[in-house]
Amino acid sequence: MATDHTNSPVDSGTDSGGVLSPVFTWMENLSEAAYAYLLLIPGFLLLALVAFYPLLSTLRMSLLADQTRGAEPLGGFVGLENYMNVLTGETRLSRQLIDVALTTEFPFIELGTPFFRQALFVTLAFAILSVIFETAIGFGQAMVLDQEFKGRRWVRVAIIIPWAIPIVIQGMLFFLLFQPTVGFGSGLMQALGIFGDNPLASSSDSFIIVLVADIWKTSAFMALLILAGLQSVDRSLYDVAKVAGATPWQRFKMITLPIVMPALIVAMLFRTMDAMRVYGIIESTAGCSTVPSMTCMVIDGLFGGTRIYGTAAAVAFLTAALIGVFIAVYLAKFRDSDGGFA
């Protein structure tokens, strides 16, 4: 394999110079480090344009005042005022990030607007619940895919397909499923007493629809990452355990789980980061005013009637900060788990 690949390119390799030959000669004479930096330029240029510059720019915007009139969308420097306004609920956004008041009676907290109308709670509840369900279901799927059986190839295709479909089609699918005229989903849930009259207009019902849609689509992603962990388990460990008289549950708890743990934590970290950005599935099913996520608020600030770029930027950075908190928690967990240095 090596020989047939190395021979053919060399013949054509020498005559590839042409006009560019001085460039190639120059590249040949660079030190390894200089050559490395040269090759990284295109990638970092792209990242600088699309990621680093916008991030810094958003950070700057979040410190400037909103200016709803005039040519310039942003006013003077206001420090952390936008952040304070977002956190205290004093913005022109159609839904608030958080709207609670402290009380003296038992829960000590009073919701200003319903729970599922507050972006922070919607985002957190969505991220936590979806990751829990997706981990459980993904683990089940990974256990199935870890077996040898006839037709495994096709079962794997079936399990991956929801993950591979466009978000907008996933949204359309669940919109139709829970649309009272065509779909049976709402009727089913109403019969169970969970849903009210018009699920796609009710915040709590729509939250469940969005959650189910996400679990349906993304469990497969968890399954594939967990499967990678499962396949790194040395099968002979199971034989040893069996000889020692371990029950299947013990084998699972003492062998499978600890070995899979690092892969599991990485998979959960990825999913949490992704779930905190939820937007598309909401926009294409119930809509952002029914189920406001934090990303929904950013878009609302940009295009939702009044132009409040500073506030929108502050929400965007609060989302990033919240994701950062979760990453820190996971990294601490990852360090604790066995094989953290794998």
Binding site: A2, T6, P9, F24, E28, A33, A36, L39, L40, P42, G43, F44, L47, L49, V50, A51, P54, L55, S57, G140, M143, V144, Q147, R153, V157, I159, I160, I161, P162, A164, P166, I167, V168, I169, M172, L173, F175, L176, L177, T181, V182, A220, L224, L225, L227, A228, P248, F252, R277, Y279, I281, S284, T295, L302, Y309, V315, A316, A320, I323, I327
Partner: protein, 336 residues
């Protein structure tokens, strides 16, 4: 767990299992067997789980297909078959059997859905090519070269994927709406809004980190001797990468390509916000599908048909490239 080879002990049990105990009911007999022979229980659990997963993942697609085939007047009750479905109509010469397959043509006549699909396809393909070339250079550097600042630079690449797209979006939206004079010869008004570049550029950056990590792993595995041999025979440095390393890592390149293509085709955020939603302005499939939702007449069957048509390209890709997807996700994730 069930991969263990059936050991002789349990095979013997299986033979014993057929004791003549007729008094027991069916369920008790099954339960007694299950207790005696746990292997059967695991087998049963395994099949139940497999069937459960197959039904939950595939049934929605089946149902979508039924909605699409149901004639518009019967949409109130879509069951396991389209209402109005009647095989006996076949005898009377009606090959549609009371369903409405014409809806799959309606998808394209109502709005230019094929244009949206082509737009998505072009954007995804161009992004994939850009990502593969740029990520190959970076993957080669991270996987094969030693230089100061390697660790921090890899971290910098990784950090990009931590931020929500919303944190990039506001300045990019402004930038792409600015009329830039030097772009005027290529673009009508000099702004990138409503052009494919407004999506290809952000997608390339956002989906590049995963490809960089996949390719770093693959490129690092090529033995140094092969590259040296090519270099001694006169290949340029870049030639060694594109003519030796890349072909030898073809599975890795294919994996990165497939994952990038699927990710771009599926993306919602930038696809939805970077064009005005009309097919002539390079709006991708997102806007195409949402157009049906916005129609004044409610066209549930057309929405369903369009969704099926839109899924087909990625479904085919998954069937063809499933191994690549699996290996790519695992390689990319576990190395980070």
């Amino acid at each position: 767990m069930a991969t263990e080879k059936p050991d002789t002990h349990q095979v013997l049990m299986d033979d014993d299992g057929e004791e003549p105990d007729i008094k027991r009911g069916m369920f008790e007999a099954w339960a007694a067997k299950a207790i005696k022979n746990p292997k059967r229980t695991y087998k049963a659990m395994f099949y139940t789980a497999t069937i459960f997963f197959l039904v939950t993942t595939l049934f929605p697609f089946y149902w979508l297909f039924q909605v699409a085939l149901t004639p518009r007047d019967n949409l109130q009750d879509v069951g396991l078959v389209p209402s109005g479905f009647d095989p006996s109509l076949l005898a009377q010469g009606d090959i549609t059997m009371g369903t409405n397959p014409g809806v799959f043509l309606e998808v394209f006549t109502l709005i230019p859905f094929h244009r949206y699909m082509i737009n998505s396809f072009v954007i995804a393909t161009v992004t994939t090519i850009v990502v593969i070339v740029v990520a190959s250079l970076a993957g080669y550097v991270f996987g094969r070269l030693r230089f100061p600042g390697k660790g921090p630079m890899m971290l910098l690449v990784l950090i990009v994927s931590f931020f929500p797209p919303a944190a990039f979006f506001i300045p990019l939206n402004e930038l792409f709406n600015t009329n830039i004079d030097i772009l005027r010869p290529i673009l009508t008004d000099g702004s990138l809004y409503n052009t494919p570049y407004a999506m290809v550029v952000p997608f390339s950056a956002i989906f590049m980190p995963l490809s960089i990590f996949i390719l770093t792993t693959f490129y690092a595995q090529i033995p140094d001797g092969l590259e040296d041999a090519a270099r001694i025979e006169g290949t340029t440095r870049l030639g060694a990468l594109f003519r030796v390393i890349m072909p030898l890592s073809a599975p890795g390149v294919a994996t990165a390509g497939v994952l990038t293509f699927i990710a771009v085709y599926n993306e919602f955020f930038f696809s939805f916000l970077m064009t005005d939603g009309s097919a002539e302005n390079w709006a991708p499939i997102v806007d195409g599908i949402l157009q049906y939702q916005g129609q004044y007449e409610v066209l549930f069957n057309v929405m369903a048909a369009a969704s099926i048509v839109g899924v087909l390209p990625v479904a085919i890709l998954v069937v063809v490239a499933q191994e690549k997807i699996v290996s790519g996700l695992t390689a990319g994730a576990l190395k980070e």
